[in-house]
Each structure stands twice: as structure tokens, then as C-alpha cells.
Assembly symmetry: C2
Homo-oligomer: 394 residues x 2
């Protein structure tokens, strides 16, 4: 039950990569880009601002970032202003807050922005900062940072289901291929054949360089409005139809089996229930492929295929154009890079642009009506899902 329908009416990203800009400069850049991308939007229309950012306190020594972003974008929010943090899912968290505010009648026109600046002069400092996403006194210093944790997931999945390194490479190959058709992606390798991916250095066995998303600088922004305002800004709204989150555990000592993510199944169940659709209706999905193995486990937890069949699902092209559900046509975190706070917003931009037929043909999903966006955070202990429907009326 929601008070009123909420539409995402436009959005934009900056180029993702190693950017010679400061955190604040990226806020200014995404602001200018947003007002170019949504020409009908005026600064005075925007009553609320939600900023998704994971660790500006460490990466940029800047807290209280919401008013900084407002100032850099030329906004003076008069209803709600806040920053949301949920590590790697901070961007989607900002969108969910904007959605709730509009549905509740507390905002009419809201901007959700995600920004992260992760490449620092000292990458040792940047990498150390990433440790504090995990349970700090226990898991982080014990070595269970992201690559080793997801390597354990991969090892377990291979042992239980016979998933292969070739299948992991198939995820990376597909997402890098899509990223080649995304001018804002961090990586534009001419080709990324599986054989080449299998020859890259090991990061944490069995995960190689091509199986891991990167430390990325980037920003993204979307505009969300109440139902009766949608047509002011676009004739191609993306309606938010469902949302779900689930928090399973924090300390890894409390994690269940690594090779299945029941928390994602729970979050998706809530989102599917509220949207009134199931996995078979989803035309494309922006999934959180922080590591190649993540996408495989996610196929299964979301019900796109049965448990244990995720490896074959990608190998058989069922998550590619022409398959059952197109996964990560934007290029994924693997191809686009993963600026923590910006990722969830950039995925929503892709939903809007796919619905509006605005993406290059090499990644355009034909006639999409339903899209699902997923983010995980930490050691896959929290899962966040949103479901969008294309066009039509509220």
C-alpha cells in the first residue's frame, strides 16, 4: 500500500573511472549534467535532496555532504535533505528514501544523487578505508575483506554445484562487452574473450582480476516525482512498483551457507509481492556483480534459475540479449566500475534510459516493460531490491 505512485523521470551519470577531480567537483559536475539531461527541471522545482555516499568521511575527509551537494548543484531543499549510507548499496538507499518521501506526500520533486571518490593519492589509505565496511574488530583485520569473502563464496559454489572458472569468466565477458557500448563505463577493452580473462592474475582464488569490480570515482543522479507531475518532465516515466530489503547478519560468524543468499530471496520476495510480478516478468535486471560469482548466486536467489544452475545459466546465454532476462546491459559493476554511492543510482539511470530507448543498440533490451535493480552491501549480509515498470499512466 503506497499513498501515491512515484515516477523516475530522468537521470544521468558522469564518466566513471580514475577521475582527476575532487569529491565536491563531482557534485558540481553531476548537477550540471542533470539539468542538461532533464531540460524541464528547474532548481526551484526540487524540494528534497537525497545523497547516497558510502565513505566521504574517509575518502574525502568530508562529512555533512548533503548540504555540500545541494550547494554545488544550486539547490535549496525546503522539504527533506539527507545523506543515506548503506556501504555498496548507498545509492539505492537514497532512491528508496526519495520514493518513501514522495509516496508519503512529504515531497513532490526529489533528486537522488550518488557520489564516491575512491582513487586517492595513497591507494593504501583507500584500501584500508574499505576494511571498515566489514565488521571492523572481527572480520576486517581477520582478512575477510571483500575479495577473500567472495572468493569463499565462489569456492563453495564450485564445490557444491560444479560451477567452473569458465562460467565465472562468462559473466565478466558479457558485462565487459556491454560496457564497451557504454561511453561512461570505466573499462573499454576492445574485446575481453574468456581465454584472456582466464589468464589474468589471481586476486583471491578462484577470482582473477577480471572477476573483480574496481575502485572507481563517479557520480550519478536521478529525478523522482509524484504521479501527477511525471508528464511535466518526460513522456517515458519509469514507475517504481516494488521495493524490498533484508538484513541477515553482520559478523561473518553468524553467516549461514555462503553459496546461497536467502536474504536476497527474502528482499526480492517483498519487492515482487509489492509490484505484483514474479521473476518471469522481468525483462532486464541490473544486478550487483561486485564479483563475477555474485551475479551467478543472484540469478539463483532471484528465481531466474534453480539453485546451482547459475553457472550454466550464463554459459548458455540465458542472461544475455536474446535470453530469458538481460542482466547488466549497462556493463555492470565489472565493466562500469563501482563508485560505491553512485552505483545504485547509475543502475536506475540505466532503467530509465532502457525504457526510453536511449541506449546504444548493442545494449538495448527490446521492448522492456519490467526491470529489477539489486544491490548488496558488506559481505552480502544486506540485500536491497527495487522493481520498475515502463511508461504508461500511474
Amino acid at each position: 500500500m503506497s499513498a501515491r505512485a512515484v515516477a523516475l523521470v530522468g537521470g544521468v551519470t558522469t564518466p566513471f573511472g580514475v577521475r582527476p577531480t575532487t569529491w565536491a567537483e563531482m557534485a558540481q559536475e553531476i548537477g550540471a549534467a542533470l539539468f542538461r539531461a532533464v531540460p524541464a527541471l528547474r532548481t526551484e522545482d526540487v524540494d528534497s535532496l537525497f545523497v547516497g555516499a558510502a565513505e566521504p568521511e574517509r575518502f574525502a575527509f568530508q562529512s555533512h555532504v548533503a548540504p555540500l551537494v545541494a550547494e554545488q548543484m544550486g539547490l535549496r531543499p525546503r522539504r527533506i535533505l539527507q545523506r543515506t549510507e548503506l556501504a555498496c548499496a548507498s545509492g539505492q538507499s537514497a532512491i528508496r528514501s526519495a520514493y518513501a518521501a514522495i509516496a508519503a506526500g512529504l515531497s513532490d520533486v526529489a533528486v537522488a544523487v550518488g557520489i564516491e571518490k575512491m582513487n586517492l593519492p595513497s591507494m593504501a589509505e583507500a584500501n584500508t578505508s574499505m576494511v571498515c565496511v566489514m565488521d571492523r574488530p572481527w572480520d576486517g583485520p581477520g582478512g575477510a575483506t571483500a575479495p577473500p569473502f567472495f572468493a569463499m563464496v565462489a569456492q563453495r559454489h564450485m564445490r557444491e554445484y560444479g560451477t567452473t572458472e569458465e562460467q565465472l569468466a562468462a559473466v565478466s565477458e558479457k558485462n565487459h562487452r556491454f560496457a564497451n557500448a557504454n561511453p561512461h563505463a570505466q573499462f573499454h577493452a576492445k574485446s575481453f574473450p574468456r581465454a584472456k580473462l582466464r589468464g589474468l592474475p589471481l586476486v583471491a582464488p578462484p577470482l582473477r582480476l577480471g572477476d573483480c569490480s574496481s575502485m572507481t570515482d563517479g557520480a550519478a543522479a536521478v529525478v523522482l516525482v509524484a504521479d501527477d507531475r511525471a508528464r511535466i518532465y518526460t513522456d517515458r516515466p519509469a514507475w517504481i512498483r516494488g521495493t524490498g530489503q533484508y538484513s541477515d547478519f553482520h559478523n561473518l560468524a553468524h553467516a549461514g551457507e555462503l553459496s546461497r543468499w536467502p536474504g536476497l530471496t527474502a528482499a526480492a520476495g517483498e519487492a515482487f509481492r509489492s509490484a505484483g510480478v514474479g521473476p518471469e516478468q522481468i525483462d532486464f535486471a541490473e544486478l550487483h556483480d561486485c564479483f563475477s560469482i555474485s551475479e551467478i548466486v543472484e540469478y539463483e536467489a532471484l528465481g531466474f534459475c534453480a539453485p546451482g544452475e547459475g553457472g550454466r545459466f550464463v554459459e548458455d546465454g540465458r542472461s544475455d540479449l536474446g535470453g530469458d532476462v538481460v542482466v547488466n546491459p549497462r556493463g555492470g559493476l565489472l565493466g562500469c566500475g563501482h563508485p560505491l554511492g553512485a552505483t545504485g543510482i547509475a543502475q536506475a539511470v540505466e532503467v530509465h534510459d532502457q525504457f526510453a530507448r536511449r541506449v546504444p543498440p548493442a545494449r538495448q533490451v527490446p521492448d522492456p516493460e519490467w526491470a529489477l535493480v539489486h544491490n548488496l552491501s558488506g559481505s552480502a549480509n544486506v540485500h536491497s531490491v527495487m522493481i520498475y515498470q515502463a511508461g504508461g499512466a500511474a
Copy 2:
């Protein structure tokens, strides 16, 4: 227009002060206290968790704190989980998010928790971390951290309106007196006469030690529920009737006159409009007295008195028990201390406890019906206001 009414049905704080506990231990402590304070609440009732915390990444080297708090409290949120940050107003920001989620129908029973651990083995490190609340490349290193900024506000107010150091001391005396009746306050001076306050060391002229709130460890939590659930948990609900925020500027170069805060007038205007009341209806107010001068400027911006009359307002006892509006009966930030993320939640706990007649007689407001809570953040560049009504039906 809100979809459905939202009630605050109970809450609690830990003792505030210099606490020999870790950040995570405070999460566990506030969780245990909350379930004792709201006996009808069961862990499985709570579908959503909102965590207000300003800088755990710096003070505790811990990000992704929302699932950590969930685990420490024994919760598994299945609807919404997020941390909100708005520096000194992070706690109220968490409550506003919970309010929006429930009003929108996305949550039925939500917990909002605020935690901050500011006293570190190295207070130099803690103080440095406070710099990143300000505009970091410009205002912070230039020396415009909180005490100097609010000292400038005081100097300007004194020059324009003839406000005196005695009037500043009157704010501190009142709030410390109330804090003496609050067992969880950081400070319990037997008496804090104005003459003694005026003899304390200067921090930033004219502000003395007694004019400044402190670095504090503490946590607070409240339960918010949809209208039809309120009676399950309490017969004394505090209904959220209005909310407003305003973001004026970030970099101090863009600040207007220091001695008036039009951003607070704007935020309060929105809150009064949505609640359908004005300043004359407010029985008591929890205002953000991070410094004594702040409370004086706030009286004026909120319309409790005319511009320039804030000093006389407190001196004449009009913000004390028996006056026009009781301000900071909890003891304020001056008396209770100011654990950034916990402050806004602790103020809401006071609203509930005042409405329920649960506070010691020395600070009980007689027959309160309307309460206003205010937080500012940064250099008073963002103002956040909520208005509550006591008891009765939705």
C-alpha cells in the same frame, strides 16, 4: 498530505557521558534498554531500522553501521534498513526517514536509533574528525570550526541587539538545572549559578566552557508505528504532526547575516504549516543548544519572541517552567552532552516521556499537548524541525 498518521510509542536513552564502551557495545546496550522500555515490542514486530550516526567511519573506523546495529539489537529488518547522516542532526534525520516510510505504507513498525562514540583515546584525532563536518577545504582549515563560528554568531548578536554574557549564562544555567533532574545527562553539577558560569575559561570569546556542549558518548532509540498499531504499545502516543527542513548554504562565504537564521524560520514554517499550529501553541521545545547563543537565536527564528529579544526572553524566564514555552526540559545539549547521532533521538524520547508524564517533577511540563524539536547541523546551514502532538486518537 500524509498517507496515514504515525505515532512515536516509546523510547529510551543510555547514560550520556564519557563511556568506557565501544560503538558496537552501545548498540547492544540501547537495544536491551529499548525492549525493556517498550515491553509489548517483540523483535519480529520491527520491520524497519533507521540508524542516525554522524561519523562512525572516523570515530570508530566502522562504516555500514545499519546491519551492525540490527545484529546487536537482535533485529532482522525485512522492509527498510539504512543509516542516515546529517552531522549534528543525524538522529532527527533517522526519525524523519522512519516517519516517511510508515506514512507511505512501506513500514508498519520501525525503530530509529542514534549512536555516537566521540571520546577516543586520542582526543586530537576526535577533534580533527569534527573538522570534516564543515566545508573541509575552505572553512575547516581556515579555523571556522564550531566554537569559533558560534562565537561569531554571539559577537554579532551582542553588537546588533545588545545581548549580554549574563543572558548567555542564563541559557546555560537553565539547561544545566534541568539536566540535574535527568539521570542520563552527562553533567550533574549541584548548582550552576550564572556567576560561576561567567568565571569559567573562555573557549572562543564570548563563549565560555559553560556555553559549549561537549564531546559525548551515548545512544538513544525510539519506536514509531502506523496509526492502527499505536495502542498495542502505549496509551500515550506522541503523534508526528509536522516536519520541515531547510538547507541554506554550505561554504561560509555564502552565509548571510549570522545573527538571524532565516533557514530555521523556513523549516519551522513548513513544520507549522503541516501541523496546523503556530509557535504560540507549542508547550515545550527541544532546541539545538550546541552553544548557549544558538538557543537565543532559535527563540527568535521560531517566533517565540521578536528578533533581537532572545536574550531578554531567557533572562525573564519566558523559556523556563511557568514561562511562555519550556525550552530544553531534558537538559539540552549543554546539560546532557551532544553525541551527534543520538541527540535528535534523545530529544524525541523526551517528547514521549513528557507527554506520558514520566519525567521527574523538576522538569515535567504541566499538561503538554504540543512539542517542537529542532536540530541544526554544520554552521547552522541546515535546520530540521519536527512537531508532535500528545495522546488522543490518530
